[in-house]
């Protein structure tokens, strides 16, 4: 007999009078908007839905006005921002899919699992587009290595990336690492993944066709990372231990099965699979509501059907759980059995948990009762904020002469620079990553950009991640242009043509006008250089609230760039080839 649970621990009136919504991240004004638009008080579950969907992490409510300005169209772009990942044409009916994502807060709290599940999440973003992931890159920022605690943070993050990427068998081929106390208490762990697919197999996350089934696949749902989305959008306080419930544990073995099965489903049953979306932050909720909203349909889910790992979970928990290695599929009505059978062959759960509907409602039932019934457009369209900006004093008062290095003894300074961990070889880190699995890695970590060949063709793809947070701190606009330029130089150095960009905008609290200024200037700078180099920004991710005890990190807009090599004989590598060869210095 199932345990009886009360699906609504608090009444709607209590949610309001006790301002429970505020604890979950909604402001009084936002709550009032919800109440007004709904024409009644939202109940406990519904308030939970709004708090997650209206968090910055899920809604981009504070960065949207800036993100809309990204230049994201040219002759190669098949899919720009908005879907899981961006897609670029690389000729011959093939396309490359890529995206970056941050897992900063989870990695700060729990370095191994935080980094590991970051890799798992970005890979799902790629294969949910129907693509075969071919590479992972990572961009890391740590404080200066001064104590055991920092060392164990670093070890944890590196081991987490290795633990997940190596096991699932996608090579980690590049990245960058820098150390600066600006990241004390708030490390950065950004991961990027690249995948390949045929034009005919592009999957997008849009629910279509009333009556089609919503199918849940992969791992069971537990209480992992409940409130993760709202958690990622809240500032850190070093004293706050209570936040620690947001730990998710990754299972790369499970994900390999989900990945292989999903790619097979897209290949073998393209017409049965209407849409796919990864369950990332705010799990079932964000994946299902976004698919409905994008497809212009409603969604109705029966939560009793959700496979669970723990007894007694209430709707709020089922909807917001961030258990890993789960996906949501929209499957054509009448074809569920084939899809379920395919996943079963891999030993995976695949369960019909609901339907696409032709109204605009987002409905949930649990234990035979309707527990939520809201307008899907209200749920998925958080208010968009236009925030004030202010030029930081450090920039207004900057004296350009302070940037002039004082080089008295070049030899001594040269050695000092080489001894900096940020400058020194990163082999001690990347040697933990399997960079060769799949046997396509032509240029391994240690060069300027990594190069992966496209098997069965003469083509190869070059990829890199770059940014210098200190430059961006000193001049957000120029520093961001320089990040794109650096990425392009690294790509060109392998013999490739830069073709596109993804980004990960790591900033502090946007409510601080100085931080918002940095963000706005940075987006403008990235955009300017992207246009100049004909490298459209096709995907990206925003991580705000990177602060510890009110001190923001350096603004760190990580740039992930992709390059195309038409003929693999043109690949160039960084090593000197023969004594007597001439050395040229190119540029200014």
């Amino acid at each position: 007999m199932p345990t009886i649970v009360n699906p609504e621990p608090k009444t709607a009136a209590q949610v309001k009078s006790e301002r429970l919504y505020a604890k979950w991240g909604l402001t009084d004004v936002e709550f009032q908007i919800i109440e007004d638009k709904m024409g009644r008080l939202p109940n406990y579950t519904e308030t939970g839905l709004f708090s997650a969907m209206w968090s910055e992490h899920a809604s981009y409510k504070k960065s949207k006005v800036l993100l809309r300005t990204f230049w994201s169209k040219n002759e190669r772009v098949l899919q720009g921002p908005g879907e899981g990942a961006g897609i670029l044409d690389i000729g011959d009916g093939q396309a490359v899919v890529f995206k970056a994502e941050s897992h900063n807060h989870p990695s700060q709290v729990e370095p191994y699992q935080g980094a590991a599940t970051g890799v798992g999440g970005i890979l799902r973003d790629i294969f949910s587009m129907g693509a075969q992931p071919i590479a992972v890159l990572d961009s890391l920022r740590f404080p200066e290595i001064k104590d055991e605690q920092t060392k164990s943070l670093i070890d944890g993050v590196i081991a987490g990336i290795a633990g997940y990427g190596n096991a699932i068998g996608i090579p980690t081929v590049g990245g960058d690492v820098a150390f600066d106390d600006a990241y004390k208490g708030n490390l950065l762990c950004n991961v990027m993944s690249v995948g390949l697919l045929d034009h005919t197999r592009i999957e997008v996350g849009q629910a279509h066709g009333s009556g089609n089934s919503v199918v849940y696949v992969g791992a069971k749902t537990g209480r992992d990372g409940i409130n993760g989305a709202t958690f990622a959008s809240a500032e850190f306080s070093s004293k706050e231990d209570a936040q620690r419930s947001a730990v998710q544990v990754g299972d790369p073995f499970m994900e390999k099965l989900v990945m292989d099965a999903t790619i097979e489903a897209v290949k073998k049953m393209p017409d049965d699979v209407v849409a796919i979306q990864d369950m990332g932050a705010a799990g079932i909720l964000s994946s299902s509501s976004e698919m409905g909203e994008k497809g212009g349909t409603g969604i109705s889910l029966d939560l009793d059907k959700v496979p669970v790992r723990e007894a007694g979970m209430i709707p709020y928990e089922l909807m917001l759980s961030e258990s890993q290695e789960r996906m949501l599929l929209i499957v054509a009505k009448g074809h569920e059995a084939q899809i379920i059978g395919l996943y079963k062959k891999y030993g995976l759960d695949a369960v019909v948990i609901g339907q696409v509907t032709d109204d605009d409602r987002y409905r949930l039932s649990f234990a035979g009762k309707t527990v939520a019934d809201v307008d899907i457009n209200l749920l998925t369209k958080a208010p968009v904020y236009q925030l004030p900006t202010k030029i930081p004093d450090r920039i207004v008062g900057a004296d350009p002469r302070q940037y002039q290095p004082n080089v008295a003894d070049p030899a001594a300074i040269f050695l000092k620079i080489l001894a900096q961990p940020t400058i020194a070889s990163k082999k001690l880190f990347y040697r933990h990553f399997d960079s060769m699995v799949r046997t396509d890695t032509v240029v391994k970590p240690g060069g300027d950009a990594a190069v992966i060949r496209v098997r069965g063709s003469q083509k190869a793809l070059s990829m890199t991640v770059d940014v210098n947070g200190r430059y961006v701190y000193l001049d957000p606009y120029e520093g961001s242009r320089m990040a794109v330029a650096e990425a392009a130089r690294n790509i060109v150095a392998t013999g490739a043509l830069p073709i596109g960009i993804t980004d990960c905008l790591n900033f502090g609290n946007p409510d601080n006008p100085e931080v918002y200024y940095e963000l706005a200037q940075s987006v403008a700078g990235l955009n300017d250089m992207a246009k100049k180099l004909n490298t459209p920004v096709v995907s990206g991710n925003v991580s705000l609230y990177n602060e510890t005890d009110k001190r923001a990190i350096y603004p760190t807009p990580m740039v992930g760039m992709l390059g195309l090599i038409e003929d693999d004989r043109q690949i160039t590598t960084i090593d000197f080839k023969a004594a007597g060869d001439l050395i040229y210095l190119v540029g200014q």
Binding site: V109, E110, Y112, Q113, A219, G222, R223, D224, R244, V247, Q248, V249, D251, F253, M254, R309, E310, S323, Q324
Partner: protein, 87 residues
């Protein structure tokens, strides 16, 4: 000399992929009676200490600090005095 036997396990709500895999392997090997499997870590640590009280304090401190991940794991332990074998 003291001997601490320390058992580290996941907190109940944390996913334990290892336990799941072992359970299904046991079922495949026809041990169908197995209901659940939890895999944890086990440490035997010998340490010098003034007395049982200080040994206890030390064990608890380093277990919390190093042996377990407080976000996901808990531990229990047994402590006993053992004879030092001269050699």
């Amino acid at each position: 000399m003291y001997l601490a036997k320390i058992y580290v396990t996941y907190k109940p709500s944390i996913l334990d992929p290892q336990g799941e895999v072992i359970k299904s392997a046991l079922h495949r090997l026809n041990y169908k009676n197995v209901e659940s499997v939890m895999q944890g870590k086990y440490f035997e640590i010998k340490l010098d200490a003034e007395n049982l009280i200080t040994a206890k304090q030390e064990v608890e401190a380093f277990s919390d600090e190093l042996l377990i991940n407080v976000n996901m794991e808990t531990f229990t332990y047994e402590l006993s005095e053992i004879a030092v074998v001269g050699d």
